[in-house]
């Protein structure tokens, strides 16, 4: 067997491990092992690559490659090990961005490398797509990172003529691509690189913080596709398989997330949702209805008499760092023979499934985490729905008020429970800036204050009873 065949076989092995890893994610039980299998497959691919011939000779610059890898490892490992789970979306954004950047650089460099051999038009097209998509992903992820890390405002950034400007830049990129296809000009390729960067930035600016779960999924898909494009250019099945797998996963998540928001993808990307706050934030409404508030001790008693409690956590819980106290409360209730579940909305948090990770970190067993549909059937027979730091995801207006901006979004039906309890910092509306009718419902009790403080008081009160 020739050297090249052996290396290709090892690549095939790696590609298989990637598929196995994704398959492992079908259940929490096998997921971790799957990830390790893929990491091993990746290691095999990298080691095999050191023995590969390029242009008929073995790899040059081996020490430079090792040095660059060393730098990468030194930065990546501590960052990945010690970042907080609430900061996970930023981290995923930045790792995604650097992947896109790498794909773009690979395509660009390969173009410079093979240009003298007058490559076929389809090779140039692959290069251009790799550069365009990879760079958009890189720049877009950087802006998404800045928004999530609160280096800049999380609200949509808008300016007059935004859509027109974006359209012009997009069009310019298309024209440039066609021109380069004809002329194979390297300087123009650099212009495309710069233009793609601008495109990535202005594309992400008008997308608000609550829509970031959709955005991150889409950028993930972009990087996957950029890697697949590089795979075409370099003639590597491994890169094509890996890139397309990620592309498929990103596109699927993007669709799921937009569906969970009840909005179309183009609405999420282009409407600058959440830039206007409409709700008033007062405790009494114009029609005279007011909210009923209670103390943590009242709620503790209410919970003590319940036989089934559904907890509906939102991102506010994570902001208050209240996950551990919440789990403690749930355990106390369970010790009293009360059934406790957590109802997780798909867009709770700042990336797909984020809330599940935050609760898992607080040692909540995964059997207790219910997806939205399951949760809704449990809620009909629940005595108490305890809403902690969530608002829009339980807002009935999404169901019955066609004029509401979130109309059509699937919600968790907290209103089905016998009693509804909101732990809220204030009457300020949720991220979408929409009034929530459920707050004024006669069966609803509000407890104002920091979620963590309130939960701590409730734990003490439940213990005392």
């Amino acid at each position: 067997m020739s050297r090249e065949t052996l290396i290709d076989l090892l690549y095939l092995f790696s590609a298989t491990t990637f598929i196995l890893a994704l398959k492992g994610l079908g259940s929490p039980k096998h997921a971790r092992r799957g990830n390790m299998v893929a990491a091993f497959g990746m290691l095999v691919a990298v080691v095999a690559t050191f023995f590969k011939y390029v242009d008929g000779h073995s790899l040059h610059h081996v020490w430079m490659i090792l040095l660059a890898m060393f730098i990468g490892v030194i930065i990546a490992v501590p960052t990945a090990r010690f970042v907080k789970m609430t900061a996970m979306p930023q981290l995923v954004a930045i790792f995604n961005g650097v992947g896109g950047g790498a794909a773009s650089l690979v395509s660009l460099t390969e173009f410079i490398h093979v240009k003298s051999t007058h490559p076929a038009t389809y090779v140039i097209l692959e290069v251009l797509l790799g550069v365009l998509i990879g760079t958009v992903s890189f720049a877009g992820s950087a802006v998404a990172f800045a928004k999530l890390q609160e280096l800049m405002t999380g609200r949509p950034v808008t300016y007059p003529g935004q859509q027109v400007i974006n359209a012009i830049v997009g069009l310019a990129a298309v024209v440039l691509i066609v021109t380069i296809l004809v002329t194979a000009s390297t300087p123009l390729l650099w212009v495309l690189l710069a233009l793609s960067f601008v495109l990535g930035v202005i594309f992400v600016l008008p997308i608000g913080g609550a829509d970031v779960p959709v955005l991150i999924s889409l950028l993930n898909a972009f990087t996957g596709l950029a890697v697949a494009a590089s795979g075409f250019t370099l003639g590597s099945n491994l890169l094509i398989v890996a890139g397309v797998l990620v592309g498929a996963s990103g596109i699927l998540l993007t669709r799921l997330m937009s569906k969970a928001m009840g909005r179309s993808l183009s609405n999420v990307l282009f409407s600058a949702f959440g830039s206007v706050v409409t709700a008033s934030g007062a405790t009494t409404r114009d029609d005279g209805r007011s909210v009923r508030s209670g103390t943590p001790e009242d709620i503790a008693i209410l919970l003590g008499f319940a036989s089934r409690v559904v907890i509906i956590p939102g991102y506010g819980l994570a902001v208050a760092q209240g996950q551990h106290v919440l789990r403690e409360l749930a355990e106390l209730l369970e010790a009293k023979g009360i059934e406790v579940f957590y109802a997780i909305h798909p867009v709770a948090g700042r990336m797909p499934g984020h809330m599940n990770v935050l609760l898992a970190e607080a040692n909540v067993p995964y059997e207790q985490l219910l997806e939205m549909d399951e949760a809704n059937s449990e809620l009909a027979t629940a005595d108490v729905a305890l809403v902690v730091g969530a608002n829009d995801t339980v807002n009935p207006a999404a169901n019955d008020d066609p004029s509401s901006p979130i109309y059509g979004m699937p919600i968790i039906h907290a209103d089905l429970a016998e009693n509804v309890v909101f732990l809220k910092r204030s009457m300020r509306p949720g991220f979408a800036g929409i009034e929530n009718d459920l707050l004024y419902n006669p069966k609803t009790t509000l407890v104002f204050g920091d979620a963590k403080d309130t939960l701590t008081k409730m734990v003490a009160a439940v213990k005392a009873n």
């Binding site: 990637f18 990746m42 690559t49 790899l59 610059h61 490892v73 797909p352």
Partner: protein
């Protein structure tokens, strides 16, 4: 030449279908690890970056390749480490004689 392109396209189409089938089965509870795990998988661009730097014939190509290897390594190593850390946290319900809420194993 055309045959090579066709072969790559075949791989692309088949992978797209396989990928969609498998990923549709991932429960929403694991969507964050799915995202960071797939993130790590596209770190395979490291292989491409190595080939670029290993075949570089000018200073410019060396610089670009060097950068690409750093970025790709960040992507792949960070991606796998953070996914492992997350998946480690997903635990089933503790046995009936579970320790009290105060035990935190970290």
């Amino acid at each position: 030449m055309g045959n090579v392109l066709l072969q790559y396209l075949t791989v692309l189409i088949l992978t797209a279908f396989v990928g969609t089938e498998i990923i549709a089965k991932v429960p929403s509870i694991l969507h964050t690890p799915l995202m960071s795990g797939s993130n790590a998988i596209h770190g395979v661009i490291l292989v491409g970056s190595m080939l670029i730097l290993g075949g570089a014939t000018s200073n410019l190509q060396e610089v670009l390749g060097f950068l690409a290897v750093i970025l790709a390594t960040l992507n792949v190593v960070g991606g796998f480490v953070v996914t492992d850390r997350m998946l480690e946290m997903f635990k089933p319900r503790a046995k009936p004689t579970a320790p009290t809420s105060d035990e935190v194993t970290k």
